[in-house]
Symmetry: C2
Subunit: 399 residues, 2 copies
């Protein structure tokens, strides 16, 4: 079995601030099943294709699992959870360190074990120039399909690293106007009228409310919010409306209630129906589940009014920036979204926000164990720092 | 009459290396008509809207006309010329200098006087952060429509400046792989078979030949080249074929002769015909005259297989990079082209070339008074330097 520190890959086993040995780590993160079937090497060790020689001047990738503790229980249609699996990364190069992150909400198919398995296969040490981001990410993409959160964790760390070498934050490097950052929305979950009213009160600092619809309770939710707030609302249906005509009726009703856009109202596979709805809707229709990576932008044109870009879907900042540029060139609206994430991935996504129409970047506010500080929300508006790279500071050193 | 050096704008009057007073300069550059009708201030002085206070920490723009001397007479359908009007720019900021350029081949409608008039209207001194490229270029765009070469001269200087501050060339900042630069094509003008054969011999170092077609002599030109060379040929028709069916016939013939693509075969206004041709053509059809700026990319999708991006058409590197990104996201081919230019604008355009399919960046090779060195062609291939910004050095200091 290989050493965990060979070949420039350093595995640190420390979860939520608690030092742990390998076996504890495995238990804690639910990897026991894998471990007990003797495939532990495939999770922790480097792949067979890994070169035996370690370049001193190459990029050095490290990563550590970091289960995110949610401040409140997160409820979805068929489940609820109090944690989000997450892996933190860093790339060291010539005295500089770039930070990255992979967040894996369970419904996207990645997990701590899949991310560790993927990152362990990578030989970033073969690269001696971190500015070759396209070449490096092309290699990372070629190692295996999918694994977008794991890939984003590499891409974000590369951007943080190169931004630090250039001594500029990426919003500057991209030439954006940092004063143009949008307000972020704050999500109100589906709940009883009493809890909804309480959540709206908690959302006082935020200027836009986001509501998840797609149930029997849709109108009740909106009416409850409207009984206590006249803030703009954006609506995320998560493919929850099966019928386009009823969807259109609902959208007309929502427009009357001060809703500003509707995200993924119909199933992503119903392309013609989504196009029909977009053509007839009085509100912008935003594609989320239908739009994962750059190649999906051209497919979304004519089907949706805009797209929701998330770093964990599109493998990082490089492709996110390309998606933003392409969507804007096509006259589409752009929303920058997130998962439950630390200030690392949130601050990385926020670098793009000056050129987005809307932002939903509240993921770091939902967790209690954020090891970083970075982008802040002030009076509901995203405020970017002048710090280099993705603009974060390490509050608690985990690796 | 205002001083020529107030408000951070410094006008230097020196043409093709020759110092000159204002009156000589005006004669030399054909501005006498304007001067004699008493509007000389509108050319040389700053606009009325110009603020009276000069910020010490603001951007300082200077420019100098520099008529490009062509090594060979350049022949078009109805004219021939031995010079190209050109204006060199620089932006100074905190000890750094960024260089830019506007090249104005007469058929594009800009001139030395229009560029000077436009640049004189700009108050870049109001900006104290050169990284706010989007904000600055939005302001520059708002001053007047058109004037794309003049705008490019500002944008290129800003990129050179910020690249130098970050100590990186733009191909690195954009994350491109500089090994992926394409071969540049070399243009063979319409001429007698004897001269054409001689030009093909001169083009020995180049791996792709570019031929201007759209006359009675089209087949003769191709056959003459093929009698002495089997290099790939690309064809630029400059809207010269009026009929789509005959164009398609010709393209089938060209394919047999080893032509790789056809640029702007039909008039740019014939959108349906161009779309039909693209759909039926065995070779890629590239839009040039039809595609000026970013907004034209989405119009080109479905009408052309690819686009020809030129800095002087699209107002500089920022928009060129956006056009490249958008076109690639749409699955379109991209060619990076140029005018007759110094190594300044050519090296700026070359920064984009690693992600282009084809390049036609021979403009600096056609002139005898290039004050800069930068991107070089080695065995036909574009070779980028590691120097910061747009990667040029000043060979002859003109201002």
């Amino acid at each position: 079995m290989r050493s965990e520190t060979t070949h420039g890959i350093h595995l640190s086993h420390k979860i939520a601030g608690m030092k742990t040995n390998r076996r504890n780590f495995i238990r804690t993160t639910g990897l026991l099943a894998i471990a007990s079937t003797a495939s532990i090497e495939s999770v922790f060790a480097t792949s067979a294709a890994f070169p035996s020689k370690n370049k001193k001047n190459g990029l050095s990738l490290s990563f550590v699992p970091h289960e995110l503790q949610l401040k409140h229980v997160f409820t979805l249609a068929n489940s609820s959870r109090k944690t989000t699996p997450d892996v933190l990364t860093k790339i060291d190069f010539q005295g500089y360190t770039g930070y990255g992150e992979a967040s894996m909400p369970p419904y996207l198919g990645e997990s701590i074990e899949s991310v560790i398995r993927f990152l362990s296969k990578l030989d970033l040490n073969q690269f001696t120039d971190p500015f070759q981001i396209e070449k490096i990410m092309h290699y990372v993409d070629s190692v295996d399909e999918g694994n977008c959160a794991a890939k984003a964790a590499v891409d974000i760390a590369l951007h943080d690293l190169t931004g630090k070498i250039m001594k500029q934050p990426w919003h500057n490097i991209w030439g954006f106007d940092k004063e143009k950052t949008p307000n972020t929305s704050f999500t109100i979950g589906i709940d009883t009228p009493e809890v909804v009213r309480q959540k709206v009160a908690e959302a006082e600092p935020y200027k836009i409310l986001k509501v998840k619809l797609g149930r029997e309770t849709d109108k009740m939710m909106i009416e409850t919010i409207r009984s206590v707030s006249d803030k703009p609302i954006c609506v995320d249906v998560n493919q929850g409306w099966p019928d386009r005509s009823r969807a259109l009726e609902m959208i007309y009703w929502l427009k009357e209630k001060g809703v500003v856009f509707v995200e993924q109202p119909l199933p992503k596979t119903a392309i013609d129906d989504n196009a029909w709805l977009t053509q007839n809707s009085p509100l912008p229709i935003i594609g989320d589940e239908a739009v994962q990576r750059l190649a999906d932008v051209k497919k979304a044109w004519g089907v949706y009014s805009g797209i929701n870009i998330k770093l964990m879907k599109c493998a990082g900042m490089r492709e996110a920036h390309q998606m933003l540029t392409a969507a804007k060139a096509l006259g589409m609206k752009v929303m920058i979204g997130c998962m439950t994430e630390t200030s690392c991935a949130i601050s990385a996504a926020a670098q793009l926000s000056p050129n987005a129409d809307w932002a939903d970047l509240d993921g770091n506010l939902l967790i209690s164990n954020d090891p970083y500080t970075g982008m802040e929300i002030k009076q509901g508006k995203i405020c970017l720092t002048n710090e280099s790279g993705i603009g974060i500071d390490v509050k608690e050193k985990l690796f």
